[in-house]
Each structure stands twice: as C-alpha cells, then as structure tokens.
Amino acid sequence: MNRIVLLLRKDTLVLWRSPVLLGILIAYPLAIAILVGLVAGYASSKPRVALVDEDNLPATVVVGGKRFDVHHTIRQASRDVKLVRLSADSAEHQLRTGRVVAVVTVPPGFIASLKGMVKSPRLELQLARGTISSRVEQQVQALVYSLNRQLQRAYIEHNLRYVSLILKGGDSSFLGQPIDVLGIEKAEKLLDAMPDTPRNGQLRGFLHDARLALANTGDALRSTAHPIELVRAPVRGRTWILSAEVQAYALGLTITFLALMLAAGSLAAERDENVIGRLARGLVGLGHLIWAKIALAAGVALVLGLAISIAFGAVIEIGGITRGEPWRRLPLLVVGLLLAGACLGALGALLGALAREARSASLVAVLVVMPIVFLGLIPREVVPPAAWASDVLPFAHSVRFFSAALYDLDPWIDVLREGLWLVVLGAVFGGLARIEARRLLA
C-alpha cells in the first residue's frame, strides 16, 4: 500500500510538472462546458428570419369583423424566430451571406385575400441551405400555425355572430346589403300566438330542434378548427433536468478522456523512462504499479469531476434556480466519480500495457475514447448491438450513475446497479492490465 502511495505521489508530482498536460486537464473540462453551453444555446436560440412585405401591410386589418394589430399579431406569433423587416433585395443578399436563415415574403394581394375569406392567402418561404434549414422550416411553420390560430378565432367569432343573428334575430349586413333577420326565438313566439294546429306543431318542433342545435355551434366550430389540442402538463419531480443531463454527459466525457489518457500514458511512460525494470526487481510489483495508475485516474477524476459539479452548482445558486439539488447529492457523486475514474483507469492501464510506449498509448487512448462515447450515446432501442457493446465499457455506466446521483428522486437502484457494473468491469480490465503489464518488461 505504501508503495502505491509513493508511486501515486510521484505521478501527481510529474503531472504537476507537465504544464502542457496540466493545461489540457484544466482546459478540457472548460472546453466541454463551453461546447455544451453553445450547443444548448443554439438549441434554444431564435434564428433570424427576414420578413419581406410586398403588400404594404397596414397597421391594422379587419378580418371577419375583428380588428387585428398587424405588428402586435406578428410579434406574438413569432416567439420562436427573430423577424426582421427587410426589402426583397436586402433579404436576398442576407440569405445568401447567411445573416438570415430564411425569408418570409408577404406577396401583393395578401391582405385582400385574407379579408375576402374566400381563398387562403399565401406566404412564400425561402430557406438557406444548410443543416439547420429543417429546423428553421419547422419554426416558420410554427409561426404560420400561430397566425392561423389567431385568424381561426376571428373567423369562428365572425361566423358565430351570424349564428347568433339566426337565433336571436336583428339587423346586420351580408355582402354589403343591410338585412333584417326575424330569428328563431322570435319566430317561436309568433308561432305560440297562432292556433295550435298540427302544421304549427311541426313548425314549432323544427324551431325547437334548430335552436338547440345552433346553441352548440360555437363548441362544434372550435373543435373542428382544433380536432386535437396539445396541452402541456406541469413538470413534477425531476427538476434541473437539462443541467443535470448536461452535467452527467460533461462529467462522463471528461473523465473518460482524462482517465484513459492518464492511466495509459503514465503506465507506458514507466517503460519509456526505463524505470519499470528497476521497479519490477522487487521494489514494486506489477500489480502495485497497475493499482497506482488506477488510483491516479480515480484521483484526477474526483478532483476534476468535483470542480465541474461545484461550478454547475454555483451557476444554479447564482441563477437562483429553485428546486435543484446541487450540493445534497455531492457525496453520492463522489462515489460515482471514484468508481468511474478507477474503472476507466483500469481500462487505460490495459491500453498502456498493450501499447507499451507513452506516445502510442496516448494516441490509442484518444482513438478509443470516441467510439466508447458514441456507443454510449446510441439509444438501446435504435441499435441494440451498440448498447450491448456499450454495456461492457465504462462510459454509459458512468453517465447513468452520474445522472441518477444528480437528479433521480430515488437513485439507489440505479446507483447500485451501475456501481456494480463499474466495479466488475474495473476488476476485469485491471486483471487484464496486470497480465499484459509483463509485456512492459520486454
């Protein structure tokens, strides 16, 4: 044990004196956090979309008897995009240069079609080429959907006014001509004053049925306009989900990269420095050497993992985000960081023993990290063999451990299962590394 501690101290000192490596160790988690932040920011950002008004949209427009504030309506409908009014030429130029991702053109005659309520007015959409075009298209569709909903409301209310006229009667206009409607209710009263004949009885029955049916027209029209309505349920239980998931992946990726590189590189470096023979002649057993590398990886994983978690926790606190548990779960996270770091350290030691030279070992570790991570990211339901392969590698288990530890309301079953996986995998990789370490003596 004492010899493992001596080697661990030596490795820590060597690490401390390797400014480039130390810089990478500090910069890497920061880079990961920034990249994750950029991706998250991009996911929630509003793309810039040009609005070309070729119809000279008025400040207000009356549709179906309802007055619309055009600018306010557009602002309300465009919550997911940033609409900027541009001339056709400017929009074309900005689309070409990538300053806007789409151009929505209001063609001449749009308002006339809208007011006429006979045929649907059209908007024209031009998209930039690129990977986000489908997302922008969805967001512009959402904008049009939102506009349609507001117009539908106006149309329904307009139609309901005619229904009300039929029911209650009164003065109105139709196609510009004034009209005077008797209405069902007044017609029923007139019939009541007439003699009770079979013919009048039939008319009374019809008016009764018609009144009942027209009374439900409002709900019927609204349900026809929105056959299915999506209502968002309030979130319960798991709070802080986005940041916890982001944190779990940031931790998993950082630790996988660092633990593999450090363990692989530092074990192979013992051979590069020609020291392994000196150690192996009774000073330090090869098993102790492997343990020292595992301890190094676990220690670095713990320190960096905690630094990332504390940074996340501080952001949560400073941001005043309620219902997060950034501090209460830290002890459980510490266990996960140690287990994940040790398991990945064992795998790294195996790579180091196989590669034998520090440079090759580091390169192999870098090459191995990406497949390990990507295998862990593929959903089990999509490619089952990828999930099976990922099951025998530490990344996915580490991420699941961190996720459960960070935000599951009842994390114990997941934490125990994933912890056991990490222990078993670590033992297997460590055993293999011990067997392969004999190659370092050659």
Binding site: V14, R278, A280, R281, V284, L441
Partner: protein, 222 residues
C-alpha cells in the same frame, strides 16, 4: 556471510523475446569479493544477462538464485530515472522504495558522493554524464552487496571513473561482489577477477582474465 553458496547465480537461465532468443541457457556464479566482467560485441546478451541477474527480467528458462538476505544494486545501460523529478527527488523516491531508514539522508550522501546538483532541476535536463552518475547513485541505494553495472563508465569523465572503481573496490573488500558489462578491455584487466564472454546470446568463455586474454580476446569481436 556464508561462502558455501554464491552471492548470486544464474542456473540454466535463458531469455526469449517472442521468437528471438536473446540469451541461450547460461550458468554464472558470483562469489564474495570478486569482480566479474561481461564482455562481448553489441547484441551478445550482456545486458539481458545483467537484467536477469538483477531480477528486472524474468527468465524464459532456468532460475536466478540469490543468497538469503543479499541485496543487489543494478544500473542499466540506459539511465533508469524519472525525467520530471530532480536528482534528489529520484534518489529519495528510490530510497523509500528500497526501504532506506532515512531516505533524505541517503539521498544527500549520494548527491555529494557523485557530485550531483541538488537543485530542483529535472533530471531530464542534466548532462548525459550527470544522468549516468544519478543512474549509478540510485543503484547504490539500500547498501547492496552485489552491484550489477551495465557499461557504467561510458559517459563518465576520468575522475568519476576513478571514484566509481574506488567505490567498487571498497564494496569487494567488504565482501561484496561486482558484475559489470564493458567494451573497455583496460577496465577488464584492471578491475575484473573473472571474465564471462558472450557472443550471439551464448556464453563462450568464463574464467580468469589471463585465460580470456590467451584464448579469446582477439577473436571475440571478429
């Protein structure tokens, strides 16, 4: 110290690296107070035999026997030390691993004896000669009775060579032994009691320096 058994012995020891046989089975004994020189052309198997005697390599066949309680010091041909640690830190680390009672004092003693810089300069930045001195100093940690030195004087200046051989003489006079690999015949004649000559991984001669001079010295490197 018993002299019924050798301090250190290789019994039918061989070593293969995959399909290549670096050393065919050899028998070598090292007795109290003697100095054994290993000679032979490059690739003859001298370093492999020294590594096997030191326990740094496991033999493919045969065994290495060490008299009970005998401590062995080993300085490989290429310095074996941590480049990011200073000479003092290297010495203190290996002193602790060797179980030295007072690692700091042992390191200080060897720094002075070998004229090594005590400053916190990484050993990778030392001169070739200083790195070799540090390599030899580490081999002396733990007060070994047997010293195994692989071409120890290759990068040393004359003064350091003299100091090294003085140290080796003191060790032998105290009942210890020295096994060293060298290409320098002058050193063999001056220091060694016996010569083990190797060629192509085979032991082709083991005996007195005089016998070696008479029978092999002209043909071994031919």
């Amino acid at each position: 110290m018993s002299s019924e058994s050798p301090l250190l012995a290789a019994r039918g020891v061989s070593r293969r690296f995959r399909r290549t046989t670096a050393l065919h089975p050899v028998d070598v004994e090292v007795w109290d107070g003697e100095a054994v020189a290993l000679v032979g052309p490059n690739g003859a198997g001298k370093s492999t035999l020294l590594s096997l005697l030191a326990g740094a390599l496991e033999p493919s066949e045969g065994s290495i026997q060490r008299r009970k309680g005998v401590r062995v010091g080993w300085a490989p041909q290429r310095p074996a030390q941590y480049g990011r640690l200073s000479a003092r830190e290297n010495l203190e680390l290996f002193a602790r691993l060797e179980g030295e009672h007072d690692p700091a004092a042992a390191a200080e003693r060897l720094l002075i004896e070998f004229g090594l810089p005590g400053k916190a300069k990484p050993s990778s930045e030392l001169s070739v000669g200083n790195r070799q001195r540090l390599n030899l100093a580490i081999a002396l940690l733990g007060d070994p009775e047997v010293l195994l030195l692989d071409e120890p004087t290759a990068a040393l200046d004359p003064e350091q060579r003299r100091r090294l051989w003085d140290r080796a003489t003191a060790l032998r006079e105290a009942g210890g032994a020295l096994v060293f690999a060298t290409q320098n015949m002058e050193e063999v004649e001056r220091v060694a009691d016996r010569v083990a000559a190797l060629r192509d991984g085979r032991l082709v001669h083991i005996g007195s320096v005089e016998d070696y001079d008479r029978s092999l010295s002209d043909t071994l490197f031919a």
